[in-house]
Symmetry: C2
Subunit: 186 residues, 2 copies
């Protein structure tokens, strides 16, 4: 459907670097819209990609984690997730993060899709996977900046949390339902 | 499940204002983790909430829009969406945005949930709605910074786009599936 592209794309006229380090590249841009109007500032940022894993045990329970999220200033229940290093295979990152955060492994990995947490202002993508028949394969290995609890939830519990606005990370909600759709299609 | 909160929450020790205007409040924070370790910088930002509408016509087609998204530097296919003004009722904002972006109205609104595009670094929330039996009620009213095409897609087309990583906004993917779950539960 890219026939629309030329009539809808914005043109970047100039960009100011607001903050750039190893964590983020945050910019203020001046753009010309397709209708000729110029807008400024329009903020965007670049950040690393990450992998999210909908990991289900042999017993059908979902491996979840709880950790503090400074954006919303709350402890959230989510799926295991972690950074994809530049150039790294996203599935390899997903396998590593699952093992480190939960101690579980899987031999049955399914790619669910690549989605954008916030395509409007950020360039980073989340690679979502379903890992089935997960088994405990060792201890968790958290680095010293990870304060993460682990818990096992049923499908009913996760859907209850989503319904009560208590499982709120959009990427994780999308990944949960993509996994459900994949399971139902088989 | 807030019994975990005290052992997982981070403590904000200090914050530097990197950029603050009517569009964004972008900060660099210094945090003490529950294990006593201090990390800095950890960037967060505050931005306005928004509403996303999964709007379905009487014929069962989904109202979609296409627009340029500077974060990923691409024209994306999405659902209608727009800002919720501070203090505004999110459903009121959803009704307004649907009317303005598509010219369609609905008398059958269902709240799907409140989710976070990126709870890790941002505070804003997306209020998701399902609007059924939408009918054309007038012309579109786009403001001069909105260059947005409109299109009608079938359920099969949307699921095909999602499967091909061509419908990538995580909030919109989550909203689509939340609407599907709501429809299936009835």
């Amino acid at each position: 459907m890219d026939e629309h592209k030329d009539t809808l794309s914005w043109k970047l006229l100039s960009a100011e670097e607001v903050r750039k380090d190893e964590w983020i590249d945050f910019r203020s841009g001046k753009y010309e819209l397709p209708n000729g109007k110029v807008i400024s500032p329009f903020y965007t940022y670049r950040k690393c990609n990450f992998a999210v894993i909908v990991a289900v045990t042999e017993e059908g329970e979902y491996l979840c984690v709880r950790q503090y999220r400074p954006g919303v200033e709350k402890v959230l229940t989510e799926f295991p997730a972690g950074a994809v290093e530049p150039g790294e295979d996203p599935e390899k990152a997903a396998r590593r993060e699952l093992k480190e955060e939960t101690g579980f492994e899987s031999e049955d990995w399914v790619r669910l899709g690549k989605i954008a947490p916030n395509a409007t202002i950020a360039d980073n993508m989340a690679y979502c996977y379903l890992a089935r028949d997960c088994r405990k394969a060792g201890e968790r290995h958290l680095d010293e900046t990870e304060c993460v609890d682990m818990l096992l939830l049923t499908k009913k519990q996760i859907e209850g949390l989503i319904a009560r606005d208590e499982f709120v990370q959009a990427v994780h909600v999308a990944a949960y339902y993509m996994a459900e759709a994949k399971n139902q299609a088989e």
